[in-house]
Symmetry: C2
Subunit: 424 residues, 2 copies
C-alpha cells in the first residue's frame, strides 16, 4: 500500500505468527482493525481508505516455526504448508479513527486481531502516540516528583511494605501494624490488593483507624508516611473513598488496575488529589505466554495514559515466575519518556529484602522507585525498625558503590539482614 | 486443612499446572489469595484463618506433562524432577473477604496467582457464588426478555448486522446504510467496535443522523429496529451518550467490555435504561492459550455480574480461530442459570450467513440469540432485503426441522444464499 497523505497517526508494534506470509498477515490485521474486513465492501471507497485505513509500516521477519504457538481451528481445516511465519510488525492507525478515547484506542490496537484465524501468535509489544494526542489523555498527575513531594522522600528510593496478612485483620489490628511500621521509619505502606472493603474491616473503619496513627507519626517525623489505601470498588465507592482519604489527610490511593478498568481509572484520575498507586494483579494472565497478549512496555504506556502514578513491576530474585531481566526492563519502561507524559514510579515487590538493592541500582541507575519488602522488613531478626534500616543501608551502599559485605561491617541492621535472609 | 465452620463462600475452579505436586500448588494458591503468604506470619492467627483463609475443596489429578506450558524463571533455577503436575482444582473463598466488590472479586479469583513461580499453567475455568451474594451485584437488567420486548421480536432469533466499513463512514453515510438495512427488515444493527467517536463522525452527529431514520421505520413497522450504538468512552461520556440515546428514543447501547472495564460497565448498568450490548473485543488475548487466562464460562459470569445484557460468542464456521464446539459451549453458558441472575443473550457473528442456522439450532435447541451477518446480508446477490430474508428463512427451516435445500425450493432468498455463499 502506498504512503497515504499526511494524517496524524499512532503506531503499534506486534509480534505476529501466522499460517500466511507475514506481509499478508500484517495487511489482514491493518484491514480488520480499520476500514477493511474479510471481504471487499462497496462502501470502502478510495476517499474512505485515505481517511481511515490503517497501513503496514514495516515487517521484520523472524525465523519461522513448524508448530503453531496458539491453536486455530481455521488453520486446522485449511490447507497450509506447515510453516508458521513470524515477524515484528508495525502498523500505523489514523488518530481520527479513535479520538481521545481510551476504550476505542484499545479496541483498535488490541481488539479482534487476537482472534483472527490465520494468526497463531499475536502480542502487542509497544506503541507510540504523537505528543499532542497523548497530552489529550492527561497522563499521571503526580508521577515521581509529585509522589516524592507528598512523601517528603528525596534522593533515595521509597522504602515500603505491605499490610500482612493480606486480608483478615480487623481495622484495629491494621492500625496497630501501621503504628509499628511508622515507628520503624517506613516511607510507604500499602494495603494488599485482596483487602479493600472486607465485611469485618470495612474501608471506612480502616481509614478511621489508620489516619490518626499516620497523623501522630507525621507530627513526630515532619512527614507523613504514605499509605496507599485500597479504594478499589464501584465508581461511586472509589470517588467517595478517595474524597474520604483526602479529607482525612491521606496522601495516596490504590486500585487494582486491571479489574477497575481503563474507564474507571481514567475517571478516578480526573478527580484525584493524591497519587494513584496502580496494582497490576492479574497481569500474569495477559503476559505469561510470550506469543500472546501484551508486553509490559505497551501495558505501562496504557496505564500512563489512564493516569496511574505508580505501577508494580515485581522484584528481582522474587517468588514469581518472571525473569530478573524482564523486571528490570519493565522498570526502565516506567522511567522512560513517553510522548511527553510524566514517568511512572516503578514498584518492586515480592520476595524482596535488603540484598537486591545493589543489583537493582547497577542495572537501573536510578533511585526513582519504591522498594517494598514484606517478610524482608517484618521478618528481620532485629525487628521492624532494623528491617527498614537494612533496606536503606543497602541502598546507601549501592549508590556509594560499596559492596554490601563491607558496608555491613559498620551497619548492624544490614549485617543481620545479610546473615538472616542471605542464607535462606 | 479441615473444614472450617460454616461461613458464606464462593468457589472458583482452575486448571493448574505446577512443578510441585498439585495438592501443594493448590494450597499455595489458596494461601496467596487469602490470608497466607510465602512465609508464615505471626499475624495469621487461628481466629484469622477461620475467618479469612481460603480452602482447597478438591484436586482432581490430570495426566502430568514433561514440558512446562508457561515459562518460569523460578522453576528454571530451582531443582525439580522434570514432571509438571496437572489438575483441576476447586478453591472456596470467604465471601466476607470481598463483599459486593467486583474489582476485589477479580483480585481474589484472578489476581497474583497467575504469577506464582511454581505455577506453569493457570486458567480460571468457572466459578460460583451463593445466590444471595450474586443478587447484591445486580446482574443484567434487561437480559433476553427485556431485549425482546424492546425490539418486538419474539419466538425467533434476532437477525442483525454490523455497520461496515467498520470505521470511516460519515454520519450521513451511516444513516443511509441504516436506512437500507431497516428497509430490508433487519431486527438489529450494531456499530463496529472500532467506531465510537471518530473525529469525522462524532458520536452526537451519528446519533442525530441515525435516530430519525430509525423512527421513520418504527412508524412504518410498528417496532423500532434495535441499534446498539457504540458509546464506549470515558465514564462521563458514556453516561452522557446513554442519556442522549434514551432521550432520542434509542433502545440499546454498546460498549467494549474489556476496555471500559468492570467498574465502568457496572456503573453504566446502574444508570442504564436500555440493554447493554457487550462487545468482547480483545477476548482472544485472555483465552487463546488453553493453559492461561480465562475460560468463557467464567468470563460470561463476570460480565453477567457487571450487568451486560448481550455478549458476543463468535460464530460457527467463522473466520476466527475458535473451534465450533467452543462457540456452542459459550452460547450455552450465556443461556445457563447462574446464581439466580438473568441469562445473557448470546451474539453470533463473524463469517455468518443463512447456512449456519440449522447447525446452531441443532446444537443449542434455542432461538434466544442474535445472529449477525455482515457480508452474509449485505453481500447477498439479491440485495440486503433478500439477505435478511435468507437468514429468517434458514431459521424457520431449522426450527421446523426441514433441511435447507428442501426449504429453499419454495424460498428464493434462501436458495440464492445457498447457491452464492454455499459455494464460497
Amino acid at each position: 500500500m502506498p504512503l497515504l497523505p499526511a494524517r496524524a497517526e499512532f503506531t503499534a508494534r506486534y509480534f505476529v505468527e501466522s499460517s500466511t506470509p507475514s506481509e499478508q498477515a500484517a495487511e489482514v490485521i491493518a484491514g480488520e482493525q480499520s476500514s477493511g474486513t474479510f471481504m471487499a465492501l462497496p462502501g470502502e471507497t478510495a476517499d474512505l481508505k485515505t481517511r481511515s485505513r490503517a497501513r503496514v509500516v514495516r515487517v521484520d521477519a523472524l525465523a519461522p516455526v513448524t508448530q503453531p504457538s496458539l491453536p486455530s481451528a481455521l488453520v486446522d481445516r485449511r490447507p497450509h504448508d506447515g510453516v508458521f511465519h513470524r515477524a515484528h510488525v508495525e502498523i500505523a492507525f489514523p488518530v481520527d479513527n479513535v479520538g481521545t478515547n481510551l476504550p476505542s484506542l484499545l479496541a483498535t490496537m488490541a481488539g479482534n486481531l487476537f482472534e483472527l484465524g490465520e494468526i497463531t501468535g499475536l502480542r502487542l509489544l509497544d506503541f507510540d502516540l504523537p505528543p499532542a494526542y497523548a497530552a489529550a489523555f492527561g497522563g499521571p498527575s503526580f508521577g515521581i516528583d509529585g509522589t516524592r513531594k507528598l512523601a517528603h522522600v528525596f534522593g533515595r528510593p521509597m522504602i515500603g511494605t505491605i499490610i500482612k496478612p493480606s486480608v483478615g485483620l480487623s481495622a484495629q489490628q491494621t492500625a496497630e501494624l501501621v503504628d509499628s511500621l511508622c515507628a520503624a521509619g517506613i516511607d510507604f505502606i500499602k494495603d494488599d490488593e485482596l483487602n479493600a472493603d472486607p465485611v469485618y474491616a470495612p474501608f471506612e473503619q480502616r481509614l478511621q483507624a489508620v489516619m490518626p496513627v499516620l497523623h501522630r507519626h507525621a507530627d513526630r517525623l515532619g512527614r507523613m508516611p504514605m499509605y496507599a489505601i485500597n479504594i478499589s470498588g464501584s465508581i461511586d465507592e472509589m470517588l467517595r473513598r478517595h474524597d474520604a482519604v483526602v479529607k482525612a489527610g491521606g496522601t495516596c490511593v490504590m486500585v487494582s488496575l486491571n479489574w477497575v478498568g481503563f474507564a474507571g481509572v481514567a475517571h478516578l484520575r480526573r478527580h484525584t488529589q493524591v497519587p494513584i498507586h496502580g496494582h497490576r494483579n492479574g497481569w500474569g494472565a495477559f503476559t505469561r505466554d510470550e506469543s500472546l497478549g501484551f508486553a509490559f512496555e505497551a501495558y505501562q504506556k496504557l496505564w500512563r495514559l489512564a493516569g496511574a502514578d505508580h505501577l508494580h513491576v515485581n522484584g528481582i530474585r522474587s517468588k514469581f515466575w518472571e525473569p530478573d531481566a524482564s523486571v528490570i526492563r519493565s522498570a526502565r519502561a516506567c522511567l522512560a519518556p513517553f510522548a511527553g507524559l510524566a514517568p511512572l514510579m516503578p514498584v518492586f515487590s515480592s520476595g524482596q529484602w535488603a540484598g537486591q538493592a545493589p543489583d537493582l541500582y547497577a542495572q537501573l541507575h536510578s533511585t526513582d522507585l519504591m522498594h517494598l519488602a514484606g517478610g524482608g522488613i517484618i521478618g528481620h531478626p532485629g525487628g521492624i525498625a532494623a528491617g527498614v534500616a537494612s533496606m536503606r543501608e543497602s541502598w546507601e551502599a549501592a549508590v556509594l558503590g560499596v559492596d554490601l559485605e563491607s558496608y555491613a561491617q559498620t551497619h548492624p541492621a544490614l549485617r543481620a539482614a545479610l546473615t538472616h535472609f542471605g542464607s535462606l
